[in-house]
């Protein structure tokens, strides 16, 4: 059929297929149309109205996601009216989006530091990573960790919980910064290649240093010119050492100079440095001059000797290196800010006998940090509140004698909102003092104005009426295009963190300028804030979190403070820091990096409170152990509900109420865990915002994540996935659309089980059990020990086991080591131990996953499909939703997880008997598809004769069904078009598996598309065990080891003679105690055994056991030597899925153990004289070269004698799957 439809989108003619939507066609053609409610996996819905477009001839706007194309349709996707509608849609949604993108800490931080993000890293002990994150916004964490004014802590919602203190953000930051400073591997930012651009920075204060940091990161050379003898500016000359030790400052500065920034001291612009030079030598200039001129006391007599401005006093000491000597003197400090605190506390340290702080308002109005006030009182400072100096009295020599003060009272509020102090008439009194330190304000000093303006050609530098440098508010560009300004010099006296924030803006503008781009403000991203909808109220967080007191900062004893030693000692342990980290309420949203609402709100410039009015407020529902629902963030796109219905088939979620009151929830207020929820997390994948998210067990961050692409290693479907991590800590597993995973689904084991990869109990070194305890030993020692053991016995006294989770390459090496190195065919896997060969052809039978959508009748036998093979289950359920297909659940269990979904459930006693009876019936009644059968199988008559000789009624009886039921089931499968039988090796014996294959051939279903058989193997690489030769009798490519030709090929390839011909039943050898050396690679027979006593006893018959695994599994506990295994995603390699698709993948992470699994195996091979590469791709090539020349697989009916269900292990004998499934079980019960 060739009836393509032509439409015109934005003037472009595009072809599409009938039934396609505008959105689909546009996306295919690279025309982006925003949408929140559309999910390509689901039927169109149209609720968000973001995807609106104009269609010529149609009234109003049309939702592109559900408007199907018609011939000649003319579509406009982007014009003013459409943009306006989209913006309005977003603004309407946001007006009822009572949620935070960032916590108030990040919102209030002038520099926008990702507080919650770095707390989450500190919580994980990832201090260097935390410092990296902080330095994106603030290059001076060790400094700020000590002296920041912390607006973040004042805004902390802990306070709304009724606690007196917010989270100790600075304490944690300081801890992390100090750890990083101490660390040999301290944080170093990524630095871009040099641009050969040079920038002069005037002033080495916090602003200048910060600007240098960011410019250096971008590859620009910065030279900082500092007027003082040492860099640091206010940090050095304004803040006393007992608060900020110089060595800390020096170290932090060094972190910037090590990036290439140069600092030239004693260079003052307009003095010994001229703009004329700068202009010639540099491409741009940033002025970070600070605001450090002290204000005079401003009362009569303030010119008296011993009356200083506070900051001159502080600077002088630093400059001269001499402490003032106030021994026995009385000092009055005037003012209530942090400088006043520095002055009074320094005065105490300089030996003053008495120190007063004179402040005209009360303590409540003091701008100084309350901690400082508290500490100063401890140190003996006396406060004179509501007091103001009116006159300085001096003696004849002009020396200060006393100060006259007047009492004040608070009147009406002034412009700042604080009550204005007014003098109380007649309340004057004199205070005898020796020194007055006036800490009542600072001014900016621009001494270089003329020098600059004389030499400037394309503009003029100006100052504001306050005397500060004039610069554009948003770009901080001055009147001279290549000159930028930041910090106190622009704003007047402010805080360090504000100076840093400004430096960020200025360096951003400067970088644009240097790169020849137009200088524009930093693009503002949309930030949703609860405060935009409702003002916070005290106590509003109460009842939502448990209260937890702040871990206070240890300080020097007050008696020990008469020196300049640092008073605050810093958190003394990781435990305390982590305890404080756990107080963080995690206000910010976990979806900020993925949220579509935020993305579009930014793109369309939406304003959250454009429309204001009633809004909905919901409690976050996190009763489910893996999934949490935050309806505050919900946009009612129903994707979660629809995916749960259309793909998962669980219908656990629904809409409740209607209109504005609608929200998403399981029915009747129950927890999601009390519904049919399958904990698959598909709802999370569907949510365009953070309304449904993963209930993570760790501090969520959020942090920016990197994808480690790999193949599912916890299921046999082989779906492509991304493991999302930040610096090696995994935060999330998401589906990756690929060849197999076209629908973008994910196995729940991986969706939530990825967390096991973060397990800190991982083994990374070989461990030897000696003298009753485990000891780390070197790889060299371990491998040599193994070699010695293996070679000290007869070849067949060794047995090697390889797990179904190993990569093909690893499995290949295991059997190569056995056959080529040890000359034994004792190579097997517990996974299939003693279960017969009936599973062998399963890999060739599977109906391709992509065909499942067309199946109408699913017969699921012996398989908890939705639990063990969720990804197949999703395809089945979607087919059922689309085609209203039937699902017949056939089980021996009295209850299965699939019961509730099945169209009908048939309970049987034996799958084997049932299948055999069905085959018997079909052949006996001549209902087989003879034409197909005879075409594919040579042994039809032989099989038929054998089967029909069996006692039919006994089979019926053993099946647990009546004759009529068996026959109608057989007819049903035989006669229903597009019928498929799905079963799992986990539950069905290999004999039953063979009979199922026979059934598919007898009915001819196997020969048709969208029907037949879908056998499901258990583990990610169960198939590999068959293909890589992990069977005593079979070598690579299922070639018989007894075949001399094959052995000759191997000998040649491996350079090894005398490959063993005979093979034994390894199970029997093991049980008979004939195995001395047992090597188990990636299996956990002891932990996964169904009979917990029998298996360890069997294992222990071996004299020397080596186990290679990730963790100290029960099997590893039995071992003499344990080797650390690498994760497949650390090495790369390939898995072969249940449908026999071999899928290579690359290493995506660094390998934690020094030697990876393939490297250890290759090393052992080499020790045994088999030259072997450790590179997965090279191993793969070698493996391919020993494969049989052509595929000689002939289908045939498999005659079975009796049922042989001998499954001895759960979880496919894999510790990782066991841990994942056990975690599910314990969490969900």
């Amino acid at each position: 059929m060739n009836d393509l439809i032509k439409i015109i989108i934005d003037g472009k003619t595009i072809q599409g297929e009938p039934g396609e939507t505008i959105l689909h066609v546009a996306n295919r053609s690279g025309i982006a149309i925003p949408t929140l409610c559309h999910d390509p996996r689901l039927d169109p819905y149209s609720s968000c109205y973001l995807c609106v477009v104009e269609v010529k001839g149609m009234r109003g706007h049309q939702p592109a996601c559900s408007t199907c194309i018609t011939e000649g349709m003319e579509v406009t996707t982007n014009n003013e009216s459409i943009r306006k509608s989209r913006r309005t849609a977003l603004e309407l949604i946001l007006s009822n989006h009572y949620a935070d993108c960032f916590g108030p800490c990040r919102q209030t931080c002038p520099a926008g530091a990702d507080v919650q993000g770095y707390i989450s890293l500190i919580d994980k002990g990832m201090y260097t990573e935390a410092i990296g994150l902080i330095k994106e916004a603030n290059p001076l964490p060790a400094v700020c960790g000590r002296v920041c004014v912390r607006p973040c802590e004042a805004a902390c919602r802990r306070l709304l919980l009724g606690e007196p203190n917010g989270v100790g953000i600075d304490y944690m930051k300081r801890f992390a910064a100090d750890q990083d400073l101490k660390s040999a591997n301290h944080f170093r930012p990524a630095v871009k290649p040099s641009t050969d651009k040079k920038v002069a920075i005037i002033g080495a204060g916090p602003g200048g240093l910060s600007a240098a940091y960011w410019l250096q990161c971008e590859g620009h050379q910065t030279d900082i010119f500092e007027a003082n003898p040492n860099p640091g500016g206010w940090l050095r000359y304004g803040i006393p050492e007992y608060r900020l030790p110089n060595d800390i400052l020096d170290q932090e500065i060094e972190r910037i100079t090590e990036l290439g920034a140069r600092i030239f001291c004693n260079q003052k612009l307009g003095d010994n440095l001229s703009y004329a030079d700068l202009k010639n030598k540099y491409d741009a200039v940033i002025l970070t001059i600070g605001s450090q001129k002290g204000a005079k006391l401003g009362v009569e007599g303030d010119e008296a000797e011993n009356v200083f401005s506070g900051i001159d006093f502080l600077r002088n000491m630093e400059m001269t290196g001499k402490r003032a000597d106030f021994t026995g003197k009385t000092v009055a400090v005037v003012g209530g800010g942090n400088t006043a605190m520095d002055c009074c506390r320094t005065s105490i340290r300089c030996g003053a006998q008495k120190v007063y702080v004179i402040y005209r308002r009360t303590e409540a109005e003091m701008p100084a940090n309350p901690i400082e006030i508290h500490e100063s009182k401890l140190e003996g400072v006396e406060y004179l509140f509501l007091t103001n100096p009116t006159h300085v009295n001096k003696d004849a020599d002009g020396k200060l004698q006393s100060v006259t003060c007047i009492r004040m009272e608070l009147g009406e509020p002034d412009a700042s909102g604080r009550r204005r102090p007014v003098p109380v008439k007649g309340s004057e009194f004199d205070l005898s003092v020796n020194y007055i330190l006036a800490a009542i304000g600072q001014k900016t000093e621009v001494t270089f104005l003329d020098d600059v303006n004389i030499h400037a050609v394309d503009g003029q530098l100006k100052v504001t009426k306050w005397g500060d440098v004039e610069a554009d508010r948003l770009t901080l560009q001055t009147g001279i295009p290549g000159m930028f300004a930041a910090g106190d010099g622009v704003t007047g006296p402010a805080t360090i963190i504000e100076a840093i924030a400004q430096a960020r803006i200025a360096s951003h503008s400067c970088i644009q300028y240097l790169m020849g781009e137009p200088v524009t403000p930093i693009k503002k991203e949309f930030i949703s804030r609860k405060e935009a909808i409702k003002d916070p109220e005290p106590g509003m967080m109460a009842g939502k979190f448990e209260t937890q007191v702040r871990m206070e900062m240890p300080v020097l004893d007050a008696a020990d403070r008469f020196n300049f030693n640092e008073v605050e000692l810093g958190y003394c342990s990781e435990e305390i820091t982590r305890h404080e980290a756990s107080r963080c309420l995690e206000c910010g949203c976990g979806a900020i990096y993925t949220c579509d609402l935020k993305k579009y709100a930014t793109e369309y410039g939406a304003i959250q409170n454009h429309y204001s009015g009633g809004f909905k407020q919901y409690d976050v529902d996190f009763r489910h152990p893996f999934i949490e629902i935050d309806n505050n963030k919900c946009v009612l796109c129903s994707r979660c509900i629809r995916i749960c219905r259309e793909i998962v088939g669980a219908s656990a979620l629904g809409l409740v109420n209607r209109g504005f009151d609608t929200f998403v929830a399981p029915a009747a207020g129950v927890s999601l865990s009390d519904t049919h929820c399958e904990s698959c997390g598909m709802c999370i994948s569907a949510c365009p915002t953070g309304a449904i998210s993963e209930n993570v067990p760790f501090k969520p961050g959020p942090v920016k994540l990197t994808a480690a692409p790999t193949i599912d290693f916890m299921g046999s479907e082989g779906f492509e996935v991304n493991l999302m991590h930040h610096k090696g800590f995994f935060h999330e597993a998401t589906a990756r659309n690929g060849v197999i995973n076209q629908a973008g689904n994910i196995n729940r084991r991986l969706k939530f089980g990825y967390r096991l990869l973060n397990n800190t109990d991982r083994i990374t070194k070989p461990m030897l059990y000696q003298d009753g305890q485990w000891k780390e030993i070197s790889f060299e020692k371990a491998l040599n020990m193994i070699k010695d053991k293996l070679t000290s016995v007869k070849p067949d006294e060794n047995a090697l086991f390889a797990g179904a989770r190993l990569t093909n390459e690893e499995q290949y090496l295991v059997q190569k080591l056995a056959r080529g190195g040890l000359k034994t065919n004792n190579v097997s896997s517990f996974h299939y131990l003693g279960r017969g060969d009936g599973y062998l052809p399963n890999g060739d039978f599977g109906v391709p996953f992509n065909d499942l959508h067309g199946v109408n009748h699913f017969f699921v036998m012996g398989c908890d499909l939705n639990i063990d093979h969720p990804v197949v289950s999703f395809l089945v359920e979607n087919a059922r939703f689309r085609n209203t297909a039937r699902l017949i659940n056939i089980t021996t269990a009295s209850e299965t997880p699939l019961d509730y979904k099945a169209t009908s459930t048939i309970r049987v006693k034996s799958y084997y008997a049932l299948l055999k009876a069905m085959n018997h019936y079909l052949l006996h009644a001549c209902k087989q598809n003879d034409m197909y059968l005879r075409a594919v199988s040579l042994n039809v008559d032989e099989y038929r004769t054998h089967l029909l000789a069996q006692d039919y009624l006994l089979l019926i009886n053993n099946s647990g069904l009546s004759q009529q039921e068996v026959e109608s089931l057989a007819d049903d499968y035989n006669l229903s078009p597009n019928a498929i039988l799905i079963f799992s090796e986990k539950e069905m014996s290999s004999a039953a598996s063979s009979e199922a294959a026979n059934l598919a051939m007898i009915t001819g279903k196997h020969g048709k598309t969208m029907s037949g058989l879908l056998p499901l193997r258990e583990n990610n690489n169960s198939q590999g065990l068959w293909d890589m030769g992990i069977r005593p009798k079979l070598g690579v490519g299922q070639q018989s080891i007894a075949d001399p030709e094959f052995r000759a090929k191997l000998s040649k390839k491996w350079g090894a003679d005398n490959l063993p011909e005979t093979s034994h039943c390894v199970r029997k050898l093991l049980e008979d105690g004939k195995i001395t050396n047992l090597l188990v690679f990636g299996e956990d027979p002891a932990g996964c055994a169904i009979d917990k006593a029998e298996v360890p006893a069997m294992l222990k018959k071996a004299g020397f056991i080596v186990v290679m695994d990730y963790f100290m599994t029960p099997t590893a506990q039995l071992a003499n030597l344990v080797l650390p295994a690498s994760f497949p995603l650390e090495t790369g390699g390939s898995f072969t899925n249940t449908q026999r698709n071999a899928q290579p993948f690359q290493a995506a992470m660094d390998c934690k153990p020094e030697l990876s699994t393939p490297a250890q195996l290759a090393a052992l091979c080499n020790l045994m004289g088999l030259p072997t590469s450790a590179q997965p791709d090279e191993i793969f090539i070698e493996m391919v070269q020993v494969l049989p020349g052509k595929k000689c697989h002939q289908l045939s009916l498999l005659t079975t004698e009796a049922d042989n269900s001998a499954r001895r292990f759960d979880y496919g004998c894999d510790a990782l799957i066991r841990m994942a499934d056990e975690a599910f079980k314990s969490a969900l019960n």
Partner: protein
């Protein structure tokens, strides 16, 4: 006395007005007096304003009495039956001499309502006696094909009476064009417009005509099943429909080879709606019939292609179906004879509000609104000033007095910004605040929004909040632009009719009564004295007796005064709750 028959109107409104008791009383009197009188029932004839209605047929003619509550029964029986003297003061209509109420019926043309109030709706024979089921018989007799019927319906020009105004014949043609063994025809009887009750009256008064219309439609499109989706709030309609269905099945009009047409296996079932206005929208209605939340989806595919259970489905309104048998029987031309160029036939209106004669009227398309209200409706109650008429319910708009000469047809009404809708006509006088009316409708749509589309779910709420601000005296001048802007965007960006038309009441009132909005915003006044927060309550000193009731009831103690002395209200403290006004027994509290 022989051949005398008394018929009582027992529609919902009649019963609400006491007709049930009237019926019982007559029954008692007949039994007690051993009178040879047949007592019968009928439904609403449309004169709701004179309910309960009692019709007496005797040898001299037919007499319709109005306002016959229980207390008047004896008098009428006594005078009319025993003394053969009609009681002129209660007489509403008779062919023998004129009555003041004649004008109510004079200009009406009854096609849809031809049997309402004329027959006992629970007796199929009475329907048949008036030509009922003749149309289906005509199909068999004349061997009319599906195409013949669709042609007739097309030519009649009848358009959907549910409000959309889509040509019914076209709809049938589409539905007929999708062959399927399963196909549905649905009668939308989920009359949710506040202020409309045409469908209820038809269903209660003449259920068979709806069934017959559906049978014809079902035959025309090739349906296998018919469904009547009826509001659960109409128990009487449901009861009578069930009776009618039983009778129609018994007579072979429904079932295997329905109406004797071989192979036409067609039956009709009732689905009770559960209360959601949005289910008037076709796709939402289908979702509801399927047992889902009534949330609309995007069309196409139209129900004609993929409707109920994804099968071809045709949906028409009660009134549309009720007109079909007449059209088939009398021909397309007879129907098209009435009406205007693009709007053919007649239309039923539910006349309510501040009008003297409220009730149901059926008029030919093309009559002016003024004629409907003044000639038929008798003008405004208490002879107050006519201000506006609201048409089309929450999707419609308010047509001001100066446009009252607009004729009723789809296009003319739409041109005013209102819509024809299903036929609700709520008359408003000078005491109606138009901002309040807009707020009322928006409150309704807001509550009835299914919540799917962003603009409808949140946008209407934001509009409502602005209107609430305005009626509370907190409006800003910019609010009006904001309202218009939001309204326009909501109209353009929603999925279904509910959302697309939700802003209409605001837009039309803003268009015609902007001054009223401005008075609320700028002068903080409600000219119609409706918006409580904008009123000033004061004590009329002449009327106040000093009983202290107001002062005792004032929740904020804003009323001062001693017992037996004139009280006064402190305006700064008054919260305008209106309690004093309702409590005062002497009308001494005044509003301004």
């Amino acid at each position: 006395m022989q051949n005398t028959k008394i018929i009582v109107g027992l529609g919902s409104c009649g019963i609400a007005a006491g007709a049930g008791k009237t019926y019982q009383k007559i029954e008692t009197l007949i039994a007690e007096g051993n009178l040879d009188i047949k007592l019968g029932k009928t439904s609403c004839v449309g004169m709701c304003y004179r309910e309960p209605l009692v019709e007496i047929h005797d040898a001299t003619g037919v007499y319709l009495y109005g306002d016959v509550d229980e207390s008047r029964v004896s008098e009428i029986i006594e005078k009319h039956i025993r003394e053969h003297t009609p009681v002129k003061e209660y007489l509403v209509k008779t062919d023998l001499f004129p009555t003041p109420d004649d004008t109510f019926l004079k200009d009406q043309v009854k096609i849809t309502l031809r049997n309402c109030g004329m027959i006992d709706p629970e007796q199929i024979e009475e329907y048949e006696a008036r030509g009922g089921y003749e149309a289906v018989k005509k199909i068999t007799a004349e061997k009319l094909t599906s195409a013949d019927i669709i042609k007739t319906v097309l030519e009649s020009g009848i358009r959907g009476r549910g409000g959309g105004g889509f040509p019914t014949g076209m709809k049938w043609k589409f539905a007929a064009g999708y062959p399927s063994p399963e196909k549905y025809i649905i009668c939308n009887a989920d009359e949710g417009d506040p202020g409309a009750f045409m469908d209820r009256s038809v269903l209660e008064g003449d259920p068979h005509t709806v069934l017959e219309g559906m049978i014809i439609g079902g035959y025309a499109i090739g349906a296998s099943d018919g469904i009547i989706y009826c509001r659960a709030e109409y128990p009487l309609a449901i009861k009578r429909l069930n009776i009618a269905l039983g009778q129609a099945r018994a007579k072979g009009y429904l079932g295997i080879d329905a109406c004797g047409i071989a192979g036409f296996n067609f039956d009709i079932h009732i689905k009770e709606g559960a209360g959601a206005f949005v289910c008037g929208e076709e796709t939402a209605l289908i979702a509801s019939v399927e047992g889902r939340r009534g949330m609309p989806r995007k069309r196409p595919p139209f129900p004609a292609q993929s409707g109920l259970w994804n099968k071809p489905t045709n949906i028409n309104n009660v009134e549309t179906f009720a007109g079909i048998p007449w059209i088939i029987l009398n021909g397309a031309e007879a129907f098209a004879h009435y009406g205007t160029e693009k709007s053919k036939g007649t239309k039923v209106f539910a006349l309510a509000g501040k009008v003297k004669r409220s009730g149901l009227v059926e008029v030919p398309m093309g009559m002016t609104i003024r004629d409907v209200i003044f000639n038929l409706g008798g003008g405004i109650k208490n002879d107050k000033k006519f201000k506006a008429v609201q048409m089309g319910g929450p999707s419609g708009g308010c047509i001001p007095e100066y446009l009252a000469d607009t004729v009723v047809d789809y296009d003319s009404v739409t041109a005013t910004g209102a819509i024809m809708g299903s036929g609700g006509m709520v008359v408003m006088d000078e005491t109606t605040c138009m901002v309040d009316v807009a707020k009322f409708f928006l409150d309704f749509t807001c509550k009835e929004s299914c919540g799917k589309c962003t603009f409808c779910r949140i946008g209407t709420k934001r509009m409502l909040e602005i209107l609430e601000r305005i009626t509370n005296g907190e409006g800003k001048p910019s609010d009006l632009d904001e309202l218009i802007d939001l309204a326009q965007q909501i109209k353009e960006n929603t999925l279904c009719g509910l959302g697309q038309t939700a802003p209409n009441p605001v837009l039309t009132t803003l268009r015609y009564f902007r001054d009223e909005y401005e008075a609320h915003i700028n002068q903080h006044k409600c000219p119609a004295k409706v918006c409580k927060k904008l009123l000033t309550y004061s004590v009329n000193e002449a009327k106040c007796t000093g009983c202290t009731v107001c002062a005792r009831n004032c929740p904020v103690n804003a009323i001062d005064g001693e017992r037996k002395k004139v009280h006064s209200i402190r305006q700064d403290a008054c919260i305008k709750c209106g309690l004093c006004f309702t409590k005062c027994k002497f009308d001494a509290i005044e509003l301004s």
